[in-house]
């Protein structure tokens, strides 16, 4: 019994301890001129879909629920966001050449089509991020048009 108490205490202390590890939050107040939504000015519904389902990991501004600011969750997220932004960062969209934009748009379509994005782990906490079949069609159509216009 004593041992259980001690272990519980140690875990508690460890949990409190790691809260002092600074979380590198991916947040920014400015919307840069190169932002995808700013440059392409999509219709409202497309804009909402992209923001709800993609922007948390693919832009310079994540909207964090409170528990995501706690460690060790914040660590886990930091890795995901870094990886996500390295693949595609909507905040820096317009700094890409047309060739690379076209490549990215095609990859976006493939990822959505094959349900690889948004990630399962993300959808499990963000129910609104999941695309319905109808939303999938709408967004893929719009991105295809954008690709054709490049």
């Amino acid at each position: 019994m004593k041992i259980v108490k001690i272990i519980a205490l140690i875990l508690l202390v460890a949990f409190v301890g790691i809260q002092f590890v600074p979380a590198e939050l991916n947040q920014s107040d400015v919307v840069p001129k190169t932002d995808f939504l700013l440059v392409n000015n999509p219709p409202e519904n497309i804009s909402t879909l992209l923001q709800e389902s993609c922007y948390d990991c693919h832009s310079n501004n994540t909207s964090y629920p409170w528990y995501n600011k706690m460690q060790p969750v914040a660590w886990f997220l930091e890795g995901h966001i870094k990886e996500g932004k390295a693949e595609l960062n909507f905040s820096e969209w317009d700094s890409l050449s047309n060739r690379r934009k076209a490549s990215k748009l095609r990859s976006i379509i493939k990822q959505i089509e094959s349900n690889k994005m948004p990630l399962e782990s993300y959808k499990s906490i963000h129910k609104e991020a999941e695309f319905s079949e109808e939303e999938k069609t709408t967004i893929i159509q719009w991105i295809t048009l954008l690709d054709d216009s490049l």
Partner: protein, 202 residues
Amino acid sequence: MKKVSVTTAIMVMTFVSLSAMSCKDSKKEHSVDAMHSEMNHDEVMNHDNLNTPNDVVDNNVQTSDAKQVMADYMTLKEALVATNKEDAAKAGKKLESSLKSFDVSKYTAEQQKELKDIIADAIEHAEHIGKSEMDHQREHFKTLSKDIIDMVAITGTENTLYQQFCPMYDGGSAWLSMSKDIKNPYYGSKMMSCGKVQKEIN
């Protein structure tokens, strides 16, 4: 006595978490841009660099870097024809490194801009091919092929190349081959001979 051990435990845990924190902060990325300094060096050496690039390009000689990229691309294509994921990944990584060391300084300013753009895009596709499943490798191979076709238009080629086209894969997809015969990299044995020669590139 119990109190002492509990206190010790707490102190140890605090210490561990604090040192974890400091380790994390001290991690720094060291990257030495050797390529860059090498390129600067070349520029300094090349006094008359407005005229020299043109001479080289007019001759339409495929540089060794361009040849290497083409060779790696062909290895990758063969691996996809054989539906061999491991070999394709290996070839993708090789292609990635060849693209990264591609020296564009022999081309005109306009060509350099285009080439850099093509290379940046192709590197991303090669990188993905290096770490993905077969279906994903083929997706990236499609856009990579477009990049390489555009690249050849600038670099020229010593060997005759055949631009081939499969109308079935993803609304129609092209690739390059050294031989006229169709061996489809998008389907492999499933539909080996699907496609036709679109263009001969000399």
